[in-house]
Subunit: 334 residues, 4 copies
């Protein structure tokens, strides 16, 4: 039984605590922490865990085998470095850190520790549809991937959602999952700004088309449209030399009514990727129990950070922006 | 240019006159007839044709090469026999005649004439989807057909529509097209009566499931549901030894809106089979111009009549009713 | 932690032991039994459980809170009656018993015990697709169900598979899930025998069309085709007064290759219903932990038995066979 | 009966002659011309027409009411100017002319003539799928269009097909149909060059992603992939403020076989757009008979030319290239 300490007891923290407690095999939440003691206590009530307000204390609790970081992004770096020092297994919700520099520090600390400790919370790699596409790609039956056409559509966002958030909060998932899908890294980024929907506001250009090119020359277009109104609609088609592969959507009955046959589109990202969250955390628990780590790494977190930076720059310049890692990919992550 | 005389100038007659005049290559309507002179005159105005109130006079007009019968069903037999005697090419809207006996008279008259003269107006054989299924079946790639699952759904019908009309006015199209599809004749019929929809009335059992068995043992189920509310929805799946073939529906864009992706279902049979009507009549004109006849024959009309009779009987008895032709299929039609 | 004793350590028994051990939250297998000691020992090695060769001893082991019966069908009745007497929670793989009489004995024993103890292993009720259709039906948005069109297709079966097995081993799943779907019981059964596929043999009529009518008048057709060659293909469309609902198939990418766009059809029932098995057992464990029982009951097992008997009789007679329970549905199960 | 003179008797010329003769209502081919007399004679044999080797003579033949130009592109300008001078109705296969300058001359000549004479042969506007999308867009139900995602995929091309031909011979159809679809004109063009498929050769970058922006800010991406191997696959999705509309593909049965359900993709552009060609020419004949002209105009031909020029330049520069018409859109074409 893996004894997990959860850092961060907001909405998503509580969700993960419930998941670890009720859904996941082989784990129990033994400690929780939050800077707001009340939140931590409420979360502890779900699972009967110890309560901390200092994340570092939780990390160093000997009853904590593994650390689950769901605190706000800016707080990740300190917890990560502490947990690496303590040699604890780590699950860290995305983003790894809020700056590429901090991401790199974490990468260097993990490399220095000599042990793979961190799984980053990009759950899409655990979505059945993406996994099926990945399997098709690695089967060799379709030759090399050349182009990816993707959409990331949300029904709507609040007025506090601004143009760069289309990268940091939305396209960030594509940034991670797509380079994993084609087993490649990004080389450059561009953003195209179409006519803005009437449902947007002055601080948000919506929709956007984000273009990414990988080192092997795969070209990716991602339509990011966060006020599309009709649903949370994630699509991904991979065009290869010997065929094109389109990711399936979640199943729903097809309904004949009102002179149409229709199928539901999800409207909530947590419903859409519910199973992926479960699978992701179970995989982390299973691996951690054996002293291993699968899934997205700290290096992937660093790549996501520099790619996001390039996209945000490209939003402003309209130009093609290079994506350059400050260091070579460490052998450790290959 | 085939000079066509149209008998019957009601709604459907006028439609055919417009079709022959504006859409079809190689034909012109030179005469029209209707027992209501006013109707005939209105129809004549569309195409500049001679007006008759006596169908037999129209048939014998030397300016009429070919006769197009769209009069009420009960009037078909006389026009058919007159036109056969006159040696004119004939297109006859379904039904051939309203009784099996009359159908047989027409069959015998055509056989006696020694010439193939009659094309019966079962337009589904000219529908692109059915033709594609037929092509797949005759390709041999799928082995023998074993089962057909079909639906014939209408949005709604009037209160004058009664139980037997589910056979005569609705399933009659399946009766013709399905035995053509599998190149076979019917052996027996059964009708199953499910719970009646709240949208029906006391004189109409709706929906019904009609079961037909062919001589080679193909078993067919046809859901006839004439108050299904949602659309005019024609489906046909043929289950074969080496695969199953499902007829496509007409094309419409797929629309993402309101948390669903949807595609239109037709609501009007004339829209659904519009192209089939055009193709059917063009094929008749093309063949007639060369002195030939394609498409459904008078014999098919006879088979439809005896099959419909068996289904109506089966509606009443609930039993399996045999379908027996009074005569062997004439060599003439093989 | 629910301590489970598993009776029957064949292939499916071992599968369930692995599931209970590795996948399911809140259960551990503490004892296993099999008349073949070697099988029991192999199974015990998976989970570190006690080994029995006598099922009754396992049932009465105080370290066994709940009993999981995966022995051959003929052995179920004795284990069920013993476990009821012992007041243990029970999961029993289908069939409940091999005869309707034995099923009734089990029903009576459970009723006499005054406690809901038995969940029967009809996993389809836990399939996401069926659950979505059920949810749509109970939403009231589509009115009353009138007709169900279903297929149960297998790629192929061995030569030891004979005509009645199309009921007992194949349609048995539809028998259970469909009456649950429409919240109704069966009234009569009929079987139609189409032309036999060339891939069948003298002892197997394949395909078959099974017709069921419920007490409320819902009419069901199930195509059972166990040598369809192309896949394990489960379909279910519910035609209602205000719309028709078609169950979705499992997700797979759509592939463009070789002048076609295609999607995988499963070929293995355990792959097709893998998630349903997991959900079913988890639901049993969750309920059992609270002293409750959900899912298919012993009464459902009895209904399945009498319905299967009627279908087998109908295979032979070709007639409509009545389905009559020997007793009224006990209040206990309402 | 519109008396048509056809200029150019190559493969496509003969196709149009057959179409005009056998399919189209209200037209007859009375004259044909080709610089190769033998070709002209063969074509004349199809329809019993007069034979010319000089296109200008054909144009001025008093038995020619309307001129159908299917000669090689470089020869169009002379025939167009001659026919405008003669006041004849004109159907001109695309391209209007091979240079933007010549296109402008034709535009100016037509404007000077004061009569709408030219329909340009961009048949996609007559494709049922595009027309349905257009109808949805003009219904107002989906708000303003913002983004178009398109593909133009061919199974393969010969080794004489080079990079700029991806614009001139392939994307040229999207250039015309897409600005018509959104009722807008282009502002700029960019071309992205992904990794090249192994099936291409040194003179052809394949696939390409062409990006177009309209004056109203609609952003369009067109994947042009002419060695995609799997089919002739035309897709178009229009993302609007209030919904997304995806153009349907042509109908084909869905086939269950070999553990997959599949539907045919066309492999031949003439099969894919067969009906569009027929409808286009019929529309021209119908309009010409009334002294009118519908469909793509000479101005559309000029826009296509300057857009193609910008795309070819963008293929070379990798930059965003402006698309500037040398003159304002004449009132005549509004």
């Amino acid at each position: 039984m893996l004894r997990v300490g959860v850092i961060g007891c907001g909405g998503m923290g509580k969700d993960h605590i419930k998941r670890l407690t009720n859904k996941i095999q082989g784990a129990e939440v033994t400690a929780v922490s939050d800077v707001f003691e009340e939140s931590a206590k409420q979360a502890a009530a779900i699972c009967g865990a110890k309560v901390y307000t200092d994340a570092n204390e939780l990390i160093n609790d000997p009853d904590v085998d593994a650390v689950f970081i769901v605190s706000p992004g800016f707080a990740h770096v300190e917890s990560l470095l502490t947990a690496i020092k303590a040699g604890k297994r780590i699950f860290c919700e995305k983003p790894l850190c809020t700056t590429a520099e901090d991401c790199l520090k974490v990468v260097e600390a993990e490399v220095a520790s000599g042990k793979h400790l961190i799984q980053l919370g990009f759950m899409r790699r655990y979505d059945k549809g993406y996994m099926q596409v990945k399997e098709a790609l690695t089967s060799g039956e379709y030759g090399e991937p050349l182009i990816l056409h993707c959409t990331h559509r949300n029904p709507e966002v609040g007025t506090n959602y601004t143009t760069p958030m289309a990268v940091h909060d939305t396209a960030i998932h594509e940034i991670d999952v797509l380079h994993w899908l084609v087993d490649d890294e990004y080389e450059s980024a561009q953003v195209i700004m179409p006519k803005v929907t009437k449902y947007s506001h002055s601080e948000l250009k919506d929709p956007q088309i984000m273009l990414l090119r990988t080192k092997k020359g795969v070209c990716i277009d991602v339509e990011v449209f966060v006020n599309c109104k009709f649903g949370y609609d994630i699509n991904c088609e991979v065009v290869c030399e010997d065929g094109a592969i389109k990711m399936p959507s979640p199943i729903y009955p097809s309904i004949r009514k009102n002179a149409a046959v229709s199928t539901t589109i999800d409207t909530d990202c947590f419903v859409r990727f519910k199973d992926a969250y479960d699978t992701e955390v179970q995989d982390w628990v299973d691996a951690a129990a054996e002293g291993a780590i699968n899934g997205p790494t700290a290096w992937d977190g660093y790549l996501a950070a520099i790619t996001a930076d390039a996209l945000v720059k490209a939003q402003e310049t309209g130009a093609v922006e290079k994506i350059n890692a400050a260091v070579e990919k460490p052998e450790f992550y290959k």
